[in-house]
Symmetry: none
Subunit: 234 residues, 2 copies
DNA sequence: CGTGATTTTTTCCCAATTCTTACGAATTCT
DNA sequence: AGAATTCGTAAGAATTGGGAAAAAATCACG
């Protein structure tokens, strides 16, 4: 996939520089403009995926430009502005901007917000993968399948998946029984519930755990459970 | 078009109140939850268009919740948080949030940001296309015909088409039984409705699914259905 | 309006999953 | 060590979904 293209419009050279450095560092292509006129010419040449627009332009009313962009271009529009009043942000967003960042800003946040915009546009085309890897295992949550280190596929049920997901979301951290109850059953269940143990038991079986010496799902007697193993989502 | 539905998750009653008031004033439907558990139960019942999530929850790790939401729900996710560090914002956004609002906030800005999210989501999905391709199949909704990989044409009924469209609109995503009821029958119907199963059953037959091992429409026992297969509309 | 064809819902029964019950094993308290 | 608590798991019970066929509703057409 081609690197997304970000257009930058800002009249201050240092800010242009800072932004393009940070964005290219993050793997984007960038084009920077100092004036609205050049910017619009550039737009005709190639359509960027995201436009970063500074409202404090000397040569044009920034908000009007944003409004036009929002209507005509399919790109996500992020306003950068020194004006911090709520009213400014509200009008900027109402006019069609997708986000509004206040100066002074941290480039890392700009990158994160750009990624969020791109992600949203893209999920329509390429559905997000729900897949986690841990200790040579792979869990595919959209197919409800667990792939063992030797490649064997084992289906897991929704109930098992809920438990597994809870573990994979907070690896190497103690999860109390009460937390788990709430996360799963949502339950007012004050009753002695073995249901949870059963779910965990079945999950352990599918993960091929040795009951005497579990390596992934460890019981902390009187406290809860802890999932060992490095998890990476992708 | 029905008013967009906003789900609110915040443990502080005044904030819940302030948000729902402002949002309903702005013409949205809202549902507010105080705890992550209730929130997740509510999600299964009906899918909101936007989720407002406070990270400072007493009963759950908010970021893990956001991550999960981002993966499995189609909704836009907006984090509300008292943590104002850039690093907090970056990780929140990287984990899948679409926006990050810092407390204290102005309700008007929340409304504006929600509108921005909805606007974006809608323009992508708006042009109602009549033809979808998935896994070597083609569905032509204007002719009510399904074209098999071998070229055979099979007509499908309106009811079957509704189900199919629902699946093709959110592929690889769990669709709960309640959601489906709502999307189709518009149903106040609390009655045990086997009608839906029958529709799905017929659709599966027309798609030539093997009942023992369905590859496209998978049943998640006790949770709903999920459509596997890459979909492209045109 | 009526008749027949198509579509949709209901009914009934079987299969899969999940919860509950029961009991034994492991751990902690006294 | 002995008792009490907490956890693991097998087996039966209760839910929930799949699918065939009958009943009901809707549509097509004269």
């Amino acid at each position: 996939m081609k690197a997304p293209h970000i257009a930058i419009l800002d009249d201050e050279p240092e800010i242009r520089r800072m932004l393009s450095d940070a964005l290219e560092e993050a793997g984007f292509r960038t084009t920077a403009y100092a004036r609205a006129g050049e910017f619009e010419v550039g737009l005709k040449r190639s359509a960027p995926d995201v436009c970063l627009v500074d409202l404090g332009l000397p040569d044009r009313d920034g908000l009007a430009l944003v409004h036009r962009l929002a209507l005509e271009s399919g790109a996500a529009i992020i306003i950068i502005s020194g004006r911090a009043q709520v009213q400014d942000r509200v009008t900027g967003l109402e006019l069609g901007a997708d986000d509004y960042i206040i100066k002074p800003f941290d480039p890392a946040e700009v990158v994160a917000r750009i990624r969020a915009r791109l992600r949203k546009g893209r999920t329509e085309a390429a559905p997000s993968l729900q897949r986690a890897r841990f200790a040579d295992w792979v869990a595919e949550f959209d197919r409800y399948v667990l792939i063992a280190p030797d490649g064997t596929e084992t289906p897991f049920s929704h109930a098992e998946g809920e438990v597994l997901r809870l573990f994979l979301d907070s690896p190497k951290r103690l999860i109390s029984r009460a937390q788990m109850q709430e996360a799963l059953g949502g339950g007012a269940g004050e009753s002695f519930d073995r249901a949870m143990d059963v779910r965990i038991s079945r999950l352990r079986t599918k993960l091929g755990e040795d009951p005497k010496n579990p390596r992934l799902i460890k019981t902390i007697y009187g406290a809860g459970y802890i999932f060992l193993g490095d998890v990476s989502w992708n």
